[in-house]
Subunit: 346 residues, 2 copies
């Protein structure tokens, strides 16, 4: 790969994560010689926002936008880094096609995350794992990224013995059409119309759905399983005890998590707060006396994982509790993938 | 008190809980000789739904409704049971006024719940405590009732060692005006108008607020403290280890809770599920293969505490996890208060 000026493709560019990937590439002035927006044939010619003032002229674009090109095997011939946000099936197909090429695939789907020869990376946590890649790096699940970036910092203070987490996950995790369904269904609800339920298993307007992804045989959902398995892999702690409950809430694009962490020794909340405040990718918003804490409805478009409500958990000898919020489309997906791509250029 | 045919007053009858108390009294055909709807002077003459076919004629009402009368000290002169849903301040005032009378006050506020001479009662859990009353019985916090009714059944299977709970609480817990604010603010959001924020500390439309009630010095909210202290009192387990995180979500009137329970010995999920299915006041909706579980947006107006997602918690030696939903205005407030009143008639 030409590390200085790679050709980058965003595959699935018209989806919620794909669009955000383009925004993040532009906002971070990712040093690409060319960025391609690839999608299925029916999206060809669509204009996608892509405002990269430093190098506007070098892109196949108009003023502030890219034109969508069709994803075909040959469309990736000149591509150094392919950011895939197109689901597991397409990722599997292109993984095979690209295996003998120099193209590095950074995949946002769950297809390869647990493969032993595929690094699963959150740059702030296990960025060095990128070096082990064999042409494919997996981007973790959104709710995993948000959790592991905090747990990895806390684990530096003292070994973790158990983590209990309940999530409050936004509609965006199910894609752009799901966000639209929340909007439209809410409008229908307020108007007394029949509700259109297509993207979620049940009504999402003014409701909480305690199921994300499919159920496994032990009563957990695949989303809950992902959070456990991926966290263990990213942290290199294969036996870490984690208990997850994943819940969809009527919020548009930031996830929240309520977390209780147990340590092997005493950690003062103030010490943890200070460590988190100084950690990369984390911002602390935690002033109870001013009723200040992170909230998912108010942090869309931000890049950090926000921490608040940090306090001692009195129910165990060495416990802390906290609340976190992160934009599911940014750090939970697009930003993390672009950060992985940045590591490839170092 | 005339146990067979008491005179019953609902105080704060025009509020969300007060209206629900009237509905519950009517639906359960509470054997009162008279029911009075009391509120402040400005509500006098308002008609409140009260359809009690068995004894319609005996109430100071029209066809299917009661007329609101003004709450004054003398308005309670002939009252045997006063169901108070009028806040802590009024409850304190009338507690003093009624102390030398035969009137029994069942109070929904938090004013007296932790007083050692005041029973705090969930009929299915500690109904016998009603007998210890000295003219006042406290109705627990809504999220406490929903939790303790399940924990008390699980504790019959094996001693509990720790409970971790994160809540998803509805707008109704903050009153009728708060429910209206969620409605109206959501409409404003969809229309792109400025949001009216009065009843909550922050925007509630498409948001989650990790604060209910005020903050205490240890970083917990008073709502979280209530859930701990009240659960211990109701279960007669003053040292039970509980960790709570209370969160307001944009749902209208049912609370949900994600709960991880640790036991002193192994309990099979199937055994717990069977025990809960047979317990009074609990209904199990738990068929993952059919994507069936309780959801707060779909259970408004119901009386039971609904349990689903019951499964083994692999992160501890003897753990179970579950998800519960209950109507905050019914079992969480009005129904529980009326059930306490029913115990007074036995």
């Amino acid at each position: 790969m030409n590390k200085k000026e790679p050709v980058v493709a965003v595959v699935g560019a018209t989806g919620a994560v794909g669009r955000e990937m383009l925004l993040v590439l532009a906002q971070r002035r990712f040093p690409a010689s060319c960025v391609k927006a690839l999608a299925s044939a029916r999206s060809v010619g669509q204009r996608l926002e892509f405002d990269h003032p430093a190098r506007q002229g070098t892109y196949p674009s108009g003023d502030g936008y890219l034109l969508v090109e069709e994803l075909t095997p040959s469309s990736l011939d000149d591509v150094d880094i392919a950011l895939f946000a197109a689901g597991s099936e397409l990722a599997r197909t292109y993984r095979s096609l690209l295996q003998q090429t120099e193209t590095v695939l950074i995949d946002n789907s769950s297809a390869f995350r647990m493969d032993t020869d595929v690094p699963l990376v959150v740059p702030e946590v296990n960025g060095l794992d990128v070096q082990l890649h064999q042409g494919l790096i997996a981007n973790p699940n959104c709710s995993t990224i948000q959790l592991v970036i905090v747990l990895s910092q806390l684990a530096k203070l003292a070994p973790l013995t158990r983590v209990v987490c309940s999530t409050y996950q936004a509609a965006s995790g199910a894609g752009a059409a799901a966000m639209q369904e929340l909007y439209e269904q809410t409008r229908q609800y307020l108007s007394g119309e029949n509700l259109t339920i297509e993207r979620f298993n049940h009504q999402i307007a003014f409701n909480c759905i305690p199921q994300i992804d499919v159920f496994l045989s032990d009563g957990f959902t695949k989303e809950e399983w992902k959070m456990v398995a991926e966290t263990r892999k990213i942290m290199h702690l294969p036996a870490l005890a984690l208990a997850m409950t994943c819940v969809r809430v009527p919020v548009l694009r930031c996830h929240a998590e309520s977390v209780n962490v147990e340590f092997s020794q005493h950690i003062e909340p103030g010490v943890a707060r200070e460590a988190l405040a100084q950690a990369p990718g984390i911002a602390v918003i935690d002033e109870p006396s001013a009723q200040t804490y992170p909230m998912p409805g108010l942090l869309a478009g931000t890049d950090d994982v926000y921490i608040g409500r940090l306090r001692k958990d009195h129910s165990v000898p060495h416990g802390l509790a906290f609340w976190s919020v992160a934009d599911q489309l940014r750090k939970g997906a697009a930003l993390n993938a672009v950060q992985i791509a940045e590591l490839l250029l170092i």
